[in-house]
């Protein structure tokens, strides 16, 4: 047999076609942008309108960039769903059997999925983050509260928003490969991101604050801040911690995906 060996690039090409040929992809991309930009603008409006009633401390804690990107925390849901669906629907539909007959090297198939999901999440994440930033700063500037993209730390925070959403999509893809059921995987991702912080609340104050910083959502969203706060790690440090969680989930996902029957 003198067949040309199928390549990783071809596996990626296959996944690329696959993700664009179901409706859920465009829907989750579209809703990510709408939700992040819309909620960021609304929250900015609420803050701006109530600014006069805020106390000194509240005004001091104000970070126009982090507040302006608050909507990204909801984009977490839609891009998380995109990441989960990329794997879980293959199990629920039975397509995984066909996919693995075409690309029997399991790590290659999952890696190809990760590449495609990461590229889409990065593009959508950056678009969302920049759009949310400019929209919210336009609102803040009604009271001269806004920041410019050229101000110190701002470009890092806004770009970081796109990177954070990319990691969210990847950690969700990992969860999809581990749990293999759409509802279960989405529940576990959202549970960790939105429910886990509750633990911090019930721990004694100093512990609670430290634990809170290292929990996934706080660590991941530290990259969005441009002011030091007692509640978050420094931006890149927090991002590094969250990248660590993502890597851990992906390692578990790859190990299980290689080992299990389909």
């Amino acid at each position: 047999m003198t067949l040309r060996r199928a390549t990783f690039a071809e596996a990626v090409a296959g996944e690329w076609i696959k993700i664009w040929t179901v409706r859920s992809t465009l829907w989750s991309m579209f809703s990510t942008v709408v939700v992040t930009v819309g909620l960021s603008s609304l929250l900015a409006l609420a803050y701006t309108l109530s600014y006069d009633r805020l106390g000194f401390r509240a005004r001091l804690a104000f970070d126009p960039v982090a507040y302006g990107l608050a909507g990204l925390n909801f984009g977490v849901i839609t891009l998380g769903v995109l990441g989960v669906l990329a794997v879980s629907t293959e199990f629920s539909s039975g397509l995984m059997r066909t996919s693995l007959s075409a690309v029997p090297r399991r790590s290659r198939l999952l890696a190809a999925k990760a590449v495609v999901v990461a590229v889409i999440a990065l593009v959508v994440g950056l678009i969302s983050s920049f759009a949310a930033f400019f929209a919210s700063q336009a609102v803040f500037s009604m009271r001269r509260l806004g920041a410019g993209i050229g101000d110190p730390e701002v470009l890092r925070a806004v770009t970081g928003g796109g990177l954070y959403l990319t990691l969210i999509a990847l950690i969700s893809l990992g969860a999809g490969a581990i749990v293999r059921h759409t509802a279960g995987a989405i529940t576990s991702v959202l549970g960790v991101l939105f429910v886990a912080p509750i633990f911090g609340v019930f721990l004694p104050e100093d512990w609670g604050r430290t634990v809170q910083k290292f929990l996934p959502p706080a660590a991941g969203s530290a990259i969005l801040t441009t002011r030091e706060t007692p509640f978050t790690l420094p931006p890149w440090q927090g991002f590094g911690v969250f990248a660590g969680y993502t890597a851990l989930v992906l390692v578990v996902a790859f190990v299980l995906f290689r080992r299990r029957d389909v």
Partner: protein, 298 residues
């Protein structure tokens, strides 16, 4: 060629496949026959490396499936259960599969024509009937023009016209020199399609034989109060025969031949009947034997 040796799969304490040894060769439709739950699908999943063997091994063209350079160009498989996503059209399903193995795009249109799905190729697959879904699976199997084809219960959900079509398709693929491995629990279907047979029951390979050897030849059954004399007369004619408790089974003759012979020798005949053993009977006898064997074996 597909070769399994000592292939075993245990799912949580239940042995689905028990030290199976078999070889599937090119140029003939090999039927994989067994009741539901006998291990057919398990064996096919192990061939494709979808499930991992507990022990033993199986190779395709001498290599484990996962080491094939471009698997879809060597093996095409129609799996038992639905194996596509309902939100994607047939065209896009095949397009992504082609993409993964460097198969030219025009081949997608070709196989859609072969299976007769071109009119609905742009529609989302969730609206397909069972038969259309089956045709999509067959299109995917044919996509890479592979020399080895596996079909797990291919006639499921097909209408009579579709059944005839897949039967002819499998036979023509085998006639082209390809390896065609088809599983079924329908013995009548196997009898019409397969030239070689691998019979499986309770995870064990019970027979691996040409179809002609598996199903006993047609014969004439004759009973007579003077069976011994009749047997001598038959032997004198050089006819192949076998004696049972109360009858003589004579091969390669018609009831008329045998009746005339008895008349010439003045032997009374009490029964004279043509027997055409079916694959079904052969299968039943085989599985009955295997059950007995189990009993003796403890």
């Amino acid at each position: 060629m597909i070769s399994a040796s000592g292939l075993t799969k245990v799912y949580g304490g239940k042995t689905a496949l028990d030290h199976a040894d078999f070889t599937v060769r090119p140029g003939v439709v090999t039927g994989f026959l067994g009741p539901n739950g006998s291990g057919k699908s398990t064996a096919m999943r192990l061939i494709l490396n979808l499930d991992r063997a507990t022990s033993g091994s199986v190779t395709v063209n001498g290599r484990p499936y996962r080491d094939l350079p471009a698997p879809l160009r060597e093996v095409g498989a129609l799996l038992e259960a639905k194996a596509w996503h309902g939100g994607r059209s047939a065209y896009n399903h095949l397009r992504f599969l082609a993409g993964t193995n460097g198969i030219p795009r025009r081949r997608v249109r070709e196989v859609l024509d072969v299976v007769g799905l071109h009119d609905v190729a742009a529609k989302r697959a969730k609206g397909y009937s069972l038969g259309m879904g089956q045709r999509l699976g067959i299109a995917a199997a044919l996509l890479g023009d592979p020399a080895i084809l596996m079909f797990d219960e291919p006639v499921n959900g097909l209408d009579p016209e579709g059944i005839l079509w897949i039967r002819r398709l499998m036979q023509s693929l085998a006639a082209e020199g390809r390896t065609v491995f088809v599983s079924s629990h329908l013995m009548s279907e196997m009898a019409l399609t397969a030239g070689h047979l691998i019979v499986i029951g309770r995870g064990r390979i019970l027979a691996d034989t040409p179809m002609a050897d598996f199903v006993p030849a047609s014969h004439v059954r004759v009973r007579s109060p003077d069976l011994a004399a009749l047997a001598r007369a038959v032997a004198a004619e050089n006819w192949r025969a076998r004696t049972t408790a109360d009858a003589l089974l004579v091969y390669g003759v018609t009831p008329a031949d045998l009746g005339d012979l008895a008349y010439r020798h003045g032997i009374r005949v009490h029964e004279l009947s043509p027997v055409h053993p079916s694959l079904e009977e052969a299968f039943m006898r085989l599985t009955a034997e295997s059950v007995e064997f189990h009993g003796i074996d403890g």
